[in-house]
């Protein structure tokens, strides 16, 4: 039988005013298990804690109950106090007779009565307390960053600068991501490549960063501190150790393919680097289009290569690496504008998206920076922009705002006017949302200095007459229909999650919302973390963002990851689930309700009637369990329990509350 002590706190007059603390302490002496009980003015103060420690030693207490404020306030204090008295910190209970009693009940007699009930409850629980300890898990001091756009690059550089090894992985064969496709950046109009490429090179040359491009994550096992990640490195058919990046193969390759990087506006070869500033700047062979790999004829690149780097025999390589933490920075896809039939997207070559226009404006793009219509190469004069295409449109399943479009349209209108002073931009908008430092000013300049004409209203139809696109819409501010004969129409296509975002989320075991954006652990207070410990988010994969926000989140993710890696070991929670293997039937119902994937099946062998038998039981991973208790309720055989909130403890509390 445990020897329990009871300490009733007055909290100055906070409790004592509406509760007879002395009476409560007196009544408690008769509770089963209580061998000592007293009251004192301030239990949390130094003399109060000393009083507790002295009583523990003098009365040889196994545990104690403090009746005071909320355990959310002082439970850590009294646990530490127990430790100093030589007790296991989990042998104590704190019962809330201030926030939930003295402060809310003015009637002193009733308050006293309730305090006694609550105290009886806590004593009943404390009698069932068992010493608990937290276990430790070693941490692998390496991070994996999935996705090497600006967010991934920034995360990798920050983690690496903090002295940890990072693997920066991308499925494309150059790092750079979406930002590499962008011509200029708002609101300063500095060229995207000029600020991005130095970062790409820095990442590539950083001694702590290992770049793994043209590779994908196919499986993730393990848990926080120790993720075992299976990576498939796609065959490049070029030996990077031998290749010097001279570019001769690209020049001679006879096969032309429409370039993904140029949004289909220009050609590339079957052996190619996607853009001139690519990192690594060595080509790969696109097996889907290479004549040699398809039907064994050609082989020009192999013949021309001065270093014999071309290797048609290369195969995909699968490696398994261990990482302590993972940062997901997989970015976004541009909304598929062909879903807007009324805009003729896909039918009319001169109805393009913002990213197309970026490529048309870029000096190293398919038109060398001259804005020309994709259909006939003519220089457009009247350009119409339509905003919120694939954003804020419930009918298209995209009710959210893509956030960056208002600003990039303003940027496009400004740049077009600069390049072609005779041109005129018309911008159809629903609202203009330019929240952000210097953003509103930029938008104003677009209107006032760069002659961008903003028309509030939706466009209902676009159709072709001759070589003009007739844009028919409504100016809802004056309530009149408008019709513009445009040379070029740019749809400000919104952002949407990567087509395979959900598949990756399932591989990683992180959650995602109805659209496929990855869900943060808390929308306000944990915007970087996922529900899976050790996995963090950076950039647009969590939701639409512009570049500064992506970079900020990337650095934040790096801090989170570094914080985890800098610990030698992780301490797991003490109050977590535990499976009683003797009772467990191995049904696995607990596995299905665990939000943290913390429960696994394992085989145990035991001797039954002289024979060794194997059976399956559930086992809780202390590194992952957060102690929610969902498994305990689902367990048909009561094998699952939460330490500190066991079935026996809660039932004892129920019994004590009902027994009056």
């Amino acid at each position: 039988m445990k020897r329990i002590g009871v300490f009733v706190c007055h909290c100055g007059t906070n409790i004592a005013n509406t509760v007879h603390c002395d009476q409560v302490a007196e009544v408690a002496k008769d509770f089963p298990g209580v061998v000592y009980s007293c009251d004192y003015k301030y239990m949390c103060a130094e003399p109060g804690q000393q009083l507790i420690q002295d009583a523990v030693r003098e009365h040889n207490l196994d545990g104690y109950v403090v009746a005071a404020c909320s355990p959310r306030m002082h439970e850590p204090t009294f646990r530490k106090c127990a430790e100093r008295a030589g007790l296991n910190p989990y042998m104590i209970e704190q019962v809330n007779i201030r926030e939930q009693c003295s402060w809310v009940h003015a009637d002193k007699e009733k308050g006293t009565e309730k305090s006694i009930d609550l105290l009886r409850m806590a004593v009943a629980k404390a009698r069932k307390n068992e010493p608990l300890s937290s276990s430790t898990i070693p941490v692998t001091k390496r991070a994996l960053v999935i996705g090497a756009g600006i967010a991934g690059i920034q995360t990798a550089i920050d983690i690496a600068d903090n002295g940890f090894q990072v693997t920066l992985l991308d499925r494309e064969h150059s790092i750079g991501g979406r930002m590499a496709q962008v011509d200029k950046t708002f609101p300063t109009l500095d060229c995207s490549a000029c600020i991005l490429t130095p970062k790409m090179v820095e990442a590539a040359q950083h001694p702590n960063i290992e770049m793994v491009t043209y590779a994908e994550v196919t499986a993730v096992d393990g848990f926080v501190g120790n993720f075992d990640v299976t990576i498939r490195k796609k065959a490049r058919y070029v030996d990077f150790d031998k290749c010097t990046g001279c570019g001769a193969c690209q020049e001679k390759c006879p096969k032309k393919v429409s370039s993904e990087f140029e949004m289909g506006l220009g050609p590339r070869k079957a052996i190619y680097v996607p853009f001139p500033q690519a990192v690594p700047n060595k080509p790969v062979i696109d097996a889907e289009h290479c004549r040699y790999l398809l039907d064994g004829k050609c082989g020009v690149c192999k013949k021309i290569c001065p270093t014999e780097a071309v290797d048609y025999e290369q195969k995909d390589e699968v490696i398994v690496e261990r990482y302590g933490s993972i940062v997901v920075a997989t970015g976004f896809d541009q909304f598929d504008i062909s879903k807007y039939e009324e805009y003729g997207a896909g039918r009319y070559p001169d109805v393009i998206t913002g990213l197309h226009l970026e490529r048309l404006m870029n000096a190293s793009g398919p038109t060398a920076g001259k804005i020309k219509r994709p259909s006939d190469g003519k220089v457009p004069e009247k350009i119409v922009f339509i905003k919120c295409v694939g954003s804020r449109d419930e009918a298209k399943g995209r009710p959210y705002c893509s956030k960056a479009c208002c600003m990039y349209v303003a940027k496009h209108a400004t740049l077009i006017k600069e390049k072609m002073p005779q041109s005129k931009s018309y911008i159809f908008y629903m609202d203009v949302r330019t929240g952000g430092k210097s953003y509103e000013e930029f938008y104003k300049r677009t209107q006032e200095q760069y002659d961008g004409q903003y028309i509030r209203g939706r466009v209902s139809k676009i159709f072709q007459v001759g070589d003009k696109l007739i844009v028919r819409g409504e100016d809802s501010l004056i309530g009149r229909p408008v019709e513009i004969e445009a040379d070029l129409v740019v749809l400000a296509a919104g952002m949407e999650p990567r087509a395979d975002a959900v598949a990756l989320a399932r591989t990683l075991g992180i959650s995602y919302d109805q659209h496929g954006w990855y869900t943060e652990a808390h929308p306000k207070l944990q915007p970087i973390e996922t529900h899976t410990a050790g996995i963090y988010l950076a950039g647009v994969c969590q939701g639409p963002k512009d570049i500064p926000e992506s970079v900020a989140q990337a650095s934040a993710a790096a801090v989170k990851a570094t914080g985890l890696l800098s610990k030698g070991e992780l301490t797991s929670e003490a109050m977590i689930a535990e499976c009683n293997e003797a009772v467990c039937a191995g049904c696995g119902l607990c596995i299905s309700v665990c939000p943290y994937k913390a429960i696994e099946k394992k085989k145990v062998s035991e001797r039954v009637h002289g024979q060794m038998k194997e059976r399956v039981v559930a086992v809780v991973n202390p590194g992952l369990c957060q102690g929610c208790g969902a498994c305990t309720v689902n367990c048909p055989s009561s094998a699952m329990n939460i330490n500190g909130f066991t079935n026996e403890q809660i039932l004892a509390e129920v019994d004590a509350l009902c027994q009056r």
Binding site: S70, P71, R72, M73, N96, R98, E99, Q100, C101, W103, V104, H105, A106, D107, K110, G111, E113, K114, D117, L118, M121, S511, H531, M575, V593, P595, Q626, G627, C628, G629, A630, T632, V633, N634, I642, F645, N647, I650, L651, E653, V654, D655, L657, C658, Q659, R660
Partner: protein, 149 residues
């Protein structure tokens, strides 16, 4: 005559005993906030702190009625706000079913409530507790499922 009056007097004085299961993150915090804001409510509901409303095994509810509780409250974060992301969805499903079962067994649905009270909803906590106390007081002591004393 006097005995009837006595009985009336006893019924007037009778106070229900209500067991509450409060999730640590929302409802328990909401109850603490009610205290910090010095809100007043009847002392009939006594809270048992659980990590998550989804930790509340229906067995605990049945045990409370068996041992003499007049009503039981299970309260946690609003659906969608669970600290453990999905715990209260289980609570919601489980206790819709539970309430129907209890009703079938003859327990008035007002004696068993599952409510969503966030950490900032101190007034809601006060209102739920007050309303429940008043309703159960009007219903009188629970006799169903109750163990013979």
């Amino acid at each position: 005559m006097s005995t009837v009056e006595d009985k009336k007097q006893t019924a007037q004085d009778w106070e229900p005993n209500i067991v509450g299961f409060a999730c640590n993150w929302c409802t328990y915090a909401g109850a603490d906030l009610a205290g910090l804001s010095r809100m007043q409510y009847p002392p009939n509901v006594k809270l048992i702190r659980v990590p998550c409303s989804g930790r509340t095994n229906p067995q605990f509810v049945l045990r409370a009625f068996q041992k003499g509780a007049d009503a039981v409250l299970v309260a946690g974060c609003h659906p969608g706000d669970c600290h453990y992301s999905t715990g209260n969805y289980f609570t919601r499903r489980r206790y819709l079913l539970m309430q129907r079962l209890l009703e079938y067994m003859g327990i008035d649905p007002r004696r068993f409530q599952a409510r969503w009270i966030s950490g900032s909803e101190a007034p809601k906590f006060r209102d739920v507790v007050t309303q429940m106390s008043e309703e159960v007081k009007a219903l009188g002591p629970n006799k169903k499922l109750r163990e013979e004393l």
